[in-house]
Symmetry: C2
Subunit: 520 residues, 2 copies
C-alpha cells in the first residue's frame, strides 16, 4: 500500500526533540497556551499566534496537566513483546443491518436520545463517514516538489483500495471535486511551480462524491450518496483571514456565511484548467445526476455530507445548496472539528429546510471555537461591537462532545495539532459510551492510527509519532542505482474537469472501467 | 530495499517550513551563524550553541550568500520531465585494475602528487571507503521506540545487500563492533528503555570489519581489511564535552588523545551483555585474526580504516593501536569530516609507525575544526592558556580539501548539518578534479543521495530533503488491518559479543552461512 507524507509533517508542529511536555503544559498555565507557530514566524503566522493567544485567554482554556494515570489496565494487553493476540482482533465491530431505523440514525429526529449514550449503530455510521473525511487527507499529494502537488495521488477507481477502505464500507467513488487553490492554499504548501511543469497552478483536489454499493444499500436501507470534503489541518493559516466577513449566501438572503469558506465553494475561472466550474457546480451536478438516476430506479436516496475542519464548513454550504436545489431529499451533515460557518439566519434556514447536522467536537480543540470566537452566541458582552445580530456566527445542529481526557491511550498535555487531528476524533468516537462513563473497553479501532500525523499516544504504546510517511518520500532506486521519482501511471494523472469522460456509475460498465481507466 | 530514518531526521535541524534561506544567511552574516540548536534548548544544547557561536566568531567563518548561479548548464539534463536519459547512466566509473600501484593509492608516499589533481583511481578508492563509512549510518536503528534502538538493523550477512553495496565494492562483512553507549549516546537519542525490554541498555553498534573478496583482491593487488567506524552527526551534542581533556593513549605515553574518543574506544564492563570486551579489543581481535589467516596463505594484506566525524576520530585511535600491535602491516586511515584527536606527539608517533592518514575535509564544515579550536596549532596566541605544547590538538596526515561552492548542485547558504553530512562529502569528492578547476563534468555519483538526510540540493533538482526514511516508520498493516511493528527476523536480532559463533571468513563455510545464519 503506497502512502504519503501527510500535511502534519509539513507543519511547524510542536518540536519533539527533548521537549519536556510537563514544561510545555506548565508554561501554558502561566502564559498563553503554546500554539503551532512556525519557527521562523511569517508575518501572517505571527498574527495568527497573537490571535490564538488572545483567543485562549478569552476562553480561559483549560489545560490539563499530565497525570500518572491508570493507563496500564487498558494497554497492558497492548504491551510490546511476545503478545501477538492484541494485534489479531478485528478493527471494527460487526456490521448490523440498520435498514429499519436508518432515518433515525441519519438524523430525522435530530439524533435525539441517540447521543448520550451513543447508539452503537450511530457510532459505526459516524466512523464510516469520518473515515471518508480522513481519506481526503490520506490521499492528498502534499509534496511541494511533485508535479502533482495539490492533486489526489490515486484515481477515483483506486483510492479506496489504496487506503484500505475497499470492501470496508461498501462505497465507490463517482467523482472528484476540485476548487481554486489560491484561496485555501496555506503558505507552507508553497508549490514550486516556478520549477517547471505542474499539473495545475490554480486548482486543488477538494474531495469526492461516492455512492453506496448494492450490499451496503441493502444494509442501510437506502442508496446513500456521500460527499467528503477535504479540510486543512493548519487552522492558524486560514482562521484569521476567514473570521472577518460574513456575506449573504444568495442575493438578498438573510442567511450569511463566512466569506472565505463561501469563496472556496463557489470560485471558478474560465482561465483555469480544473476550475472552469466551481466546486459547488461540480458537486451539485454529480449529486443531482445520482439522485435522478436512483430515484428513477424507484430507490430511496439519501445524501450525507462529511468533512473535517474546513471540510466541515464546506459540507454545511454544500448541504444548504443541496437542500435548496433538491427539496425532499434527506440530507445530513456529519462534521468533525468544524468551525462556525454562518449567522443565525443561516442556521434557521438550514433547520427549516430539514438539513440535519451532527457536529462532532473535541472539547479541547480550538477550531470549533472559530471563526467568530469574538462574535458568537456565547459571548453576549460583545454585542456592542457586533452591532446587529446578523453578524453573530453560530453553530448549527446537534453536538457530540468528546473529551481527550476520556482516553487512556492519549497524552493530555496541550497539543493544538493533536487535539484537532481527525484521527484523534475518530479514536474518541470509537471509545465514547456516554458523557459520564469512561472509554469503551471493547473499542476496536486501531489505536496506532492516532499517531499517523501527530504525537498524541502515550509513549508506552511505542507507536512513533507522525508515522504516516512514504518510503524515501517516493524516491525509488532504478536499475542503474539512481534514486528517482517514478512517473505517475497515466490513469493517476489528474485530467481537467471539463475533459472528464462522461462516467455513469452503472454496474454494467464496472468491468469496462477495470480494463479502461476512467478519470474522474 | 528496507531503509531507516536516519539520524538527521531526529535532529533539531534548521527548520524548513517557510524558512527563507536568504534570511538565514543574512542573519549569519550579521550575528553568529545559525547552529542546529534544539528548539527547546536543553541545558547542554544551549551551552553547545553558545560555544558554536563563539567558535564561529573565532573563525570568522566565511558564509557565502546564495547567488543566482549558472547551474542550469549542469542540471538541465537532470530536469524533471520527459527525460529518462539522465537516469540511465551508471552511478560510478568503470573499475580499473590498480594492483600495480596500490601502495601509492594506499598512501605509501603520503599521496604526494595524487591529490591535486586528484588521481581518478584514488578518487574511486576514497568513494569506496566513504560509502562504507556512510553504511554505518544507513543501517543504524535510530528509532527510540524500537527495542533494537542502537543496533544495526541487519545482520552482517545482509547489510551490504540491504544497502545496495553488494557486488558494488567486492567486500564482505566479517564482524560487527559494539561500544558502550552511555558515552556517545546523544541526548536526542534518549532510548525509552523504561518502556520495557530492549536489546541492550548499554551498548551501541559502532561499525564493522570487512574483507575484500577474491575479485576485488585481485583488482587492488592485496587482501584488504576494512574497518568502518560509525560517527554521530550531531556534533553539537558531543564536541563540547569532548574538547576538554587530553589523556595519554598508553601508560607513560607522550602521545595524548582526547579523553572522550579514547573512552568510547576502550570502555568495557563485565556487567554488560555487549561490551564485556571493548571496541578496541573486538576490532583488534578480528583484524589480528584476519591478518594471520591471509598472511599464512601467503597473501599481501593491508588495513584501511575509515569513518566520518566521530568515526574518523575512532579510526585514528584504531590505526594507532593496530600499528603498535601489528608492525609492518600497511595501514591507512581515510577519514571524512573528522575532528582533531590528539597532540603533536600522537601525530609524530603515528607518522613514525608509518600510519598514512588522508583527511577529507569540507572547507565549510565546522567539525574538522574541533575539538581544540581554541587549543590548536593555528591559534598560537592561546599558548599562554594552553601552557604546554602537550595540550595542543593537531591534525595528522594529508588533506584533501573540498569546497561546497565547487558544486553547482548544492545550496551554498550556511547549513551546519549539510556541510558536515557524509553524503555531501562523497558528492564533493566525486566532483573534485583539482583545487583550481570547477566540478567534474562527468561525475557519475547519484546527486540525489546528497539530500538523504539534509537539505543541500538546489530546489531545481526537485529532490525532497531528508528523504531517507522508512515507509510508515516501519509500521505495517497486518491481516486484521492493524498497524504493527513487525518482529525482527531472528537472524537480525543482535546477540552479545561473547556469544557470537566463532565465525571464520573462509570460503568453504560461506555456503553453510547461507543456510544457518551467523551473528557477527
Amino acid at each position: 500500500m503506497a502512502m504519503s507524507t501527510m500535511i502534519h509533517n509539513h507543519l511547524p508542529a510542536i518540536p519533539h526533540t527533548g521537549v519536556n511536555r510537563n514544561k510545555l503544559v506548565a508554561r501554558a498555565h502561566q502564559e498563553a497556551p503554546v500554539v503551532d507557530r512556525p519557527i521562523n514566524g511569517t508575518k501572517a503566522s505571527k498574527r495568527a499566534a497573537r490571535l490564538a493567544e488572545s483567543l485562549s485567554n478569552l476562553l480561559h482554556l483549560h489545560v490539563e496537566p499530565p497525570q500518572r494515570r491508570e493507563v496500564m489496565k487498558h494497554y497492558s494487553s497492548w504491551d510490546s513483546f511476545g503478545d501477538d493476540e492484541k494485534h489479531s482482533t478485528p478493527t471494527m465491530s460487526p456490521k448490523e443491518v440498520i435498514s429499519d431505523k436508518w432515518r433515525e440514525i441519519h438524523g430525522c429526529t435530530d439524533w435525539d436520545s441517540l447521543l448520550d449514550p451513543l447508539h452503537p449503530c450511530l457510532r459505526r455510521e459516524i466512523l464510516k463517514y469520518g473515515e471518508f473525511a480522513q481519506a481526503t487527507y490520506d490521499a492528498f499529494d502534499f509534496d511541494r516538489f511533485s508535479e502533482y502537488c495539490g492533486s489526489c495521488r490515486f484515481n477515483s477507481n483506486k483510492i479506496f483500495e489504496k487506503l484500505g477502505l475497499d470492501g470496508k464500507h461498501g462505497y465507490k467513488v463517482c467523482k472528484y471535486i476540485y476548487a481554486m487553490s489560491h484561496i485555501d492554499m496555506p503558505q507552507w504548501l508553497n508549490r514550486t511551480v516556478h520549477l517547471g511543469d505542474t499539473w495545475s497552478r490554480d486548482s486543488n483536489w477538494m474531495g469526492f462524491v461516492a455512492i453506496s454499493d448494492e450490499e451496503e444499500t441493502h444494509r442501510i436501507g437506502r442508496r446513500d450518496i456521500v460527499v467528503a470534503w477535504r479540510g486543512t489541518v493548519a487552522p492558524s493559516e486560514w482562521y484569521e483571514d476567514f473570521q472577518r466577513k460574513l456575506e449573504p449566501i444568495g442575493p438578498g438572503d438573510d442567511a450569511k456565511v463566512e466569506h472565505g469558506f463561501h469563496s472556496i465553494y463557489t470560485s471558478k475561472s474560465e482561465h483555469t484548467r480544473y476550475s472552469k466550474s466551481s466546486a459547488s457546480e461540480q458537486v451539485m451536478k454529480e449529486v443531482t445526476r445520482l439522485v435522478k438516476l436512483y430515484k428513477e430506479k424507484g430507490e430511496e436516496v439519501s445524501l450525507t455530507i462529511t468533512g473535517h475542519s474546513l471540510g466541515g464548513a464546506l459540507a454545511l454550504l454544500n448541504a444548504y445548496e443541496a437542500a435548496t436545489t433538491i427539496p425532499g431529499l434527506p440530507i445530513s451533515v456529519i462534521s468533525f472539528g468544524a468551525p462556525r460557518v454562518g449567522n443565525i439566519a443561516f442556521r434557521d434556514q438550514l433547520h427549516q429546510m430539514g438539513v440535519k447536522t451532527l457536529r462532532v467536537v473535541v472539547k479541547q480543540d480550538l477550531v470549533p471555537k472559530m471563526p467568530g470566537v469574538v462574535f458568537n452566541e456565547g459571548l453576549q458582552k460583545f454585542d456592542e461591537i457586533t452591532g446587529t445580530l446578523d453578524w453573530v456566527y453560530t453553530h448549527v445542529g446537534a453536538e457530540l462532545r468528546l473529551d481527550v481526557r476520556s482516553s487512556p491511550y492519549l497524552k493530555h498535555g496541550f497539543n493544538l495539532l493533536g487535539f484537532h487531528s481527525q484521527e484523534t476524533y475518530l479514536h474518541l468516537v470509537d471509545g465514547f459510551v456516554c458523557q459520564s462513563s469512561s472509554f469503551r473497553e471493547d473499542a476496536r479501532r486501531d489505536v496506532a492510527l492516532v499517531n499517523k500525523a501527530c504525537d498524541m499516544l502515550v509513549d508506552e504504546l511505542r507507536i512513533p509519532h507522525c508515522w504516516y510517511q512514504m518510503e524515501n518520500k517516493g524516491l525509488v532506486r532504478n536499475a542503474h542505482g539512481r534514486w528517482v521519482k517514478p512517473k505517475r501511471e497515466a490513469e493517476d494523472v489528474p485530467v481537467p474537469v471539463g475533459s472528464q469522460p462522461n462516467f455513469h456509475a452503472l454496474d454494467e460498465i464496472v468491468e469496462s472501467r477495470r480494463l479502461q481507466p476512467v478519470y474522474v
